[in-house]
Amino acid sequence: MAKVPRNFRLLEELEKGEKGIGDGSISYGLEDGDDIMMLKWNGTIIGPGHSVHENRIYNLKIECGHDYPDAPPEVSFLSRVNLPFVNAANGKVERHKLPVLANWERKSTLETVLVDIRKEMAAPSNRKLPQPPEGSTY
């Protein structure tokens, strides 16, 4: 099976993100359109309905290192959030606590990461967690 190199893989993901994903409940793009190595990305998650996150918009920062997608990206919340897999001090998503990162596969993408985070937010154990004020950031 042909192995798509990092840069072309990220270009594919970028193009998909530019077109818009699904119903818009998650989105992502390059932090800096000039970043030819496509290291730093922004992500957005619209809080899932029927949870404390409903109607909130969460901003995230994603870093795709040089060994992406063989290695998972580094993901941090910029918006404050209370979730068991997010470091309360700095918003960093703790890799071993989020299945999609802990069990990273090459076929996983920025989209799958964001979708999984959003799913976790809606999980029964998380959807009622008390949250910091809307709009606060790390």
């Binding site: 099976m1 042909a2 699904g22 119903d23 818009g24 309905g49 029927h50 409903e54 109607n55 029964p124």
Partner: protein
């Protein structure tokens, strides 16, 4: 020279003229052509068989050298770009052959490759008589030919252009094949009597085509004139992918659905929150998995689950609507769909809450009958919508006209089944089904007496109501809360 069939006429194997009916593994992608069509074309000798190519070729090579240069047999899960020729000697070549090989066979097979030609696409060498483009008379091996196809249509590009010739870009790419004058393998019995299943090229009379291209001393072909893609002897890319038109139509349907898709907004206070997307597929219920668009055909299991989840009325409603009211205004249908999807949005939550609050909604399983009652009055709604029967589950559809502000947005109001007052001008007077625990003997009140005035300005708002048993949809007309995507 050239007639070698005597050595192998008795064999009954899966080859034609020493080539295979199936690809030899040059390409690793999906085999999305119609293989039975391809195999038949090969047997009919309208398409060259899948010959094992030579990795390289020089004119002065002897037979052993030629056989050694043959590319390896297809390997499962080969990555396709690093497969070395694993026949380092003529002996191993015979070992891996599908046929019981003899020295004579090997020599025959080697002769096949005398004056081999390079396929300009895969850069591999093939017997001289492989396919040639119908338009510009360039070689193309069967392996490459079956890869060429129309570009798949996409929702943004709803045309399917005929594939062009890779060499001269002439549309309607097709090939012409001149089989060898001898014949072995499948069909060789008929060939022995010189009456193959298709007219022999000797008698086809195509201009300037030499029929014995096999012999090492065979005369050079004169350049053939271009042949029409409708010529009987030409094989086009559409012939081996007869489903291209179905694909195009399927994609058109997808695009039409997307064009009809709307984002459903929910009004919360004075904010509009997107809650889902209508599928645009009108006549069929959408996958109950969460209101995200693409539809799936109705399915008994899913429906019964919906019923348990108190959304049966909604799905039945859409279903009936599509089937029973084919002439309805599209926008109305859209709105119906929007309403239904909003209901579905509640489904997952309801399920969860029902699990948490076991038993509170356990008696809602008998919703199957909720569409059994004929519509009363002059309603243009499908009967299921005016679900009047025993126990339609909880979803409550509330429609008001532009003059009627959305009502009932407070969870506190939900304890009673209600119906909207029929005094709203032109409004949809609909009813609330009974709460599940009321066990369904509530007669449903108000048959609608006018068609639903739901047009493009209609909006779908849903009350902010997380009650597991009674989600409501409010449909004020003219609030503009539905936006087109």
């Amino acid at each position: 020279m050239g007639n070698t069939s005597s050595s192998s006429r008795d064999r009954h194997d899966d080859s034609v003229d020493l080539g295979a009916l199936t690809p030899q593994g040059i390409y690793t992608g999906p085999q999305d052509w119609n293989q039975s069509v391809v195999a038949q074309l090969i047997i009919d000798r309208k398409l060259a068989p899948f010959y094992r190519p030579l990795e390289d070729y020089e004119e002065d090579w002897d037979d052993d050298r030629i056989l050694a240069a043959r590319k390896g047999e297809p390997q499962p899960a080969s990555d396709g770009n690093t497969t070395p020729p694993h026949h380092s000697s003529p002996r191993s070549a015979s070992k891996s052959s599908a046929r019981p090989a003899t020295t004579r066979d090997r020599i025959n097979e080697a002769q096949l490759y005398y004056k081999a030609v390079e396929c300009p696409i895969c850069f591999l060498y093939y017997p001289r008589n492989i396919n040639r483009s119908r338009c510009c008379d360039q070689e193309i091996c069967t392996e490459c030919f079956v890869q060429i196809k129309r570009a798949d249509p996409t929702p943004t590009n709803l045309v399917s252009e005929p594939a062009s010739c890779p060499y001269c870009v002439e549309p309607n790419f097709g090939i012409f094949y001149t089989p060898p004058s001898w014949r072995v393998g499948i069909g060789s019995d008929q060939a022995a009597s010189h009456h193959g299943p298709r007219p022999d090229l000797n008698r086809l009379g195509s201009s300037g085509t030499s029929t014995d291209v096999q012999g090492p001393s065979g005369s050079q072909k004169a350049r053939r004139k271009s042949m029409s893609h409708t010529n009987f002897a030409v094989v086009t890319v559409d012939q081996i992918r007869p489903d291209w038109e179905d694909k195009l139509n399927a994609m058109k349907a997808v695009a039409a659905r997307r064009a009809n898709r709307r984002i459903i907004m929910r009004q919360v206070g004075d904010r509009l929150i997107p809650v889902g997307i209508t599928s645009g597929r009108i006549a069929q219920p959408v996958d109950g998995g969460g209101g995200s668009g693409e539809g799936t055909p109705p399915e008994g299991g899913r429906r019964s689950r919906r019923h348990r989840d108190n959304n049966g009325a909604a799905s039945e409603f859409t279903n009936m609507y599509g089937i029973g009211m084919p002439g309805q205004d599209l926008e109305e249908l859209m709105l119906m769909e929007a309403m239904r999807l909003s209901l579905l949005e509640h489904e997952a939550q309801q399920r969860r809450q029902q699990q948490e609050q076991q038993g509170s909604a356990s008696n809602s399983n008998n919703a199957e009958s909720n569409n059994s009652r004929p519509p009363s009055g002059s309603s243009s709604l499908p009967s299921s919508f005016i679900s009047s029967s025993s126990s339609p589950p909880a979803p409550t559809l509330v429609a008001t006209s532009a003059n009627g502000p959305p009502t009932g947005t407070s969870p506190g109001n939900t304890a009673q089944p209600r119906s909207l007052t029929p005094t709203l001008p032109g409004g949809l007077r609909d009813t609330l089904p009974p709460l599940p625990h009321e066990n369904g003997n509530t007669s449903l009140s108000t048959p609608t007496t006018s068609s639903i005035p739901l047009h493009s300005a209609s909006s779908t708002t849903e009350s902010l109501d997380h009650s597991p048993s009674l989600p409501r949809i409010v449909l004020p007309e003219g609030n503009g809360a539905e936006t087109s995507t």
